[in-house]
Point group: C2
Chain length 205, copies 2
C-alpha cells in the first residue's frame, strides 16, 4: 500500500516517485528471491574504476540472534522503529582502492549508488526501504570484525510499510506527514552558482 | 541502442540492467523536457534529515561558452571523451547541514542517491550517463564561485551512446569491453565479515 507517492513537477518513473522511507513495517517477511534481486540490483551500480566499494551485512528476523546483533549497531532512536522491519542491512564501504591502497574519493558516493539501485528494485517489488546514517560504526566494527580501511556507513530497514492506522501515534504522524523537496530552480544551475538553469526557469514561469 | 545490458544472476528491473557508462556519445541533443525529468528524479531521492545536499551545475552544448567552462573542470583524461556529450553536469555537495552547520556524514552518499535516481530516469528514457569522479574541485570553485562548505564532487556526461563502429579505436574498445561485477557472495554477508549470507550461498551451490 503506497500512501506517499511523490507529487512531482515533471514526470518521473513510478519506481522513483513511489519510493519513501516508512517508520512503520508489517511483520510480513521478505522472500529470499526478493532479497537476491535487491542485492543484485546494488551489484550493477556504477563505481569509480569499477571498484564496487560496497558491502552489506544482512540480518533477517527469523534469525533473532543475528537480527539483534545488527539492531545493536543502530543508534537508539533508530532501533526503536527499525526493530519492526523483517530485514536489516548495514552498508559497509571500502575506503581505499583494492589495487593500489589509495583513498577512494568516490567510495561513499558509490555506496549511495548501490543502495539507490537496491531501493529502486525494492520499490518496484512493492517493498519499502528506510535508509539510515544513524548507526554506530565502532560497534559494528567490533561486532562483525570489520577490517581496517572498511567502515560501516549506513543501514537500511527493508520490508512492507505498515498501515499507519495500526501504528503508535508518534510514528504514525511521521508516516502521514507530507513529502517536501526544494524546487528544481533551487539546485539546478547554469553558468554560475545559484543561477537557475534556463531549462528549469523557463518552465517555472 | 543498448549494447551492454547486464547479464544478471537474479532478475532486476530493466532500468537497472540496461545502465552502463559509455565513452562515446551521439551528437543528438537531449530535450529540455527530458532534462527536467532527470533532475526531478534526483530531487526525490532520500537524504539524511531530508537535507537534500545535492546541487548540479548543468551545461548544454548549444551554449558553447558554458559547455567549455564546465569541460574545463574535468581532468584531461575525461575531457578527451566527455566533450562529445551534449550535456555535462557537475555534482556539488553541501557538506554541512543548513540548519545547524554541523558536518553531514551522509552528504556525499546522498549525492550518490540523487545522481543514481537521475541515471535510472535517464536509462528509462533511452539516455546514457557516464559519471565521473575525475574532476578539478578547486577549478570548479573558482569558475562557479562555489561557496565554502560546498564542494564539486562528481560530474556526469549525459546523452545518447554512440555506435562503437563510429568511434576511435581506443574508446571503441572500452565501450565493447564486457561488464564485470563481483558475485553476490563476495559482498553480501550475514553474522560475520566475509561470511556469505545464506540466502545467497544457498542459491550459488
Amino acid at each position: 500500500m503506497n500512501i506517499k507517492k511523490a507529487v512531482t513537477d515533471y514526470p518521473i518513473q513510478h519506481a522513483l516517485a513511489d519510493r519513501w522511507s516508512p517508520y512503520g513495517f508489517e511483520e510480513r517477511a521478505v522472500t529470499e528471491a526478493d532479497l537476491c534481486s535487491l542485492f543484485e540490483a546494488a551489484r550493477w551500480a556504477a563505481s569509480s574504476y569499477n571498484e564496487q566499494p560496497w558491502n552489506y551485512i544482512v540480518a533477517t528476523k527469523d534469525n533473532s540472534k543475528e537480527f539483534d546483533q545488527l539492531l545493536s549497531c543502530l543508534v537508539e532512536a533508530n532501533q526503536a522503529w527499525a526493530k519492526a522491519a523483517p530485514v536489516l542491512a548495514l552498508g559497509v564501504v571500502s575506503l581505499r582502492f583494492a589495487k593500489n591502497h589509495k583513498d577512494n574519493r568516490a567510495a561513499v558516493h558509490d555506496l549511495g549508488l548501490a543502495s539507490g539501485n537496491l531501493v529502486v528494485e525494492a520499490t518496484s517489488r512493492g517493498l519499502a526501504v528506510h535508509q539510515m546514517i544513524g548507526i554506530l560504526p565502532d560497534k559494528a566494527r567490533e561486532v562483525y570484525q570489520i577490517p581496517e580501511h572498511f567502515e560501516a556507513w549506513t543501514a537500511m530497514a527493508i520490508g512492507y510499510n505498515a498501515d499507519p492506522a495500526t501504528m503508535p501515534a508518534a510514528l504514525k504522524e511521521r508516516d502521514l506527514a507530507p513529502r517536501q523537496r526544494r524546487p528544481l530552480g533551487d539546485f539546478v544551475f547554469a553558468g554560475q552558482w545559484k543561477h537557475a538553469s534556463p531549462f528549469v526557469s523557463k518552465r517555472d514561469t
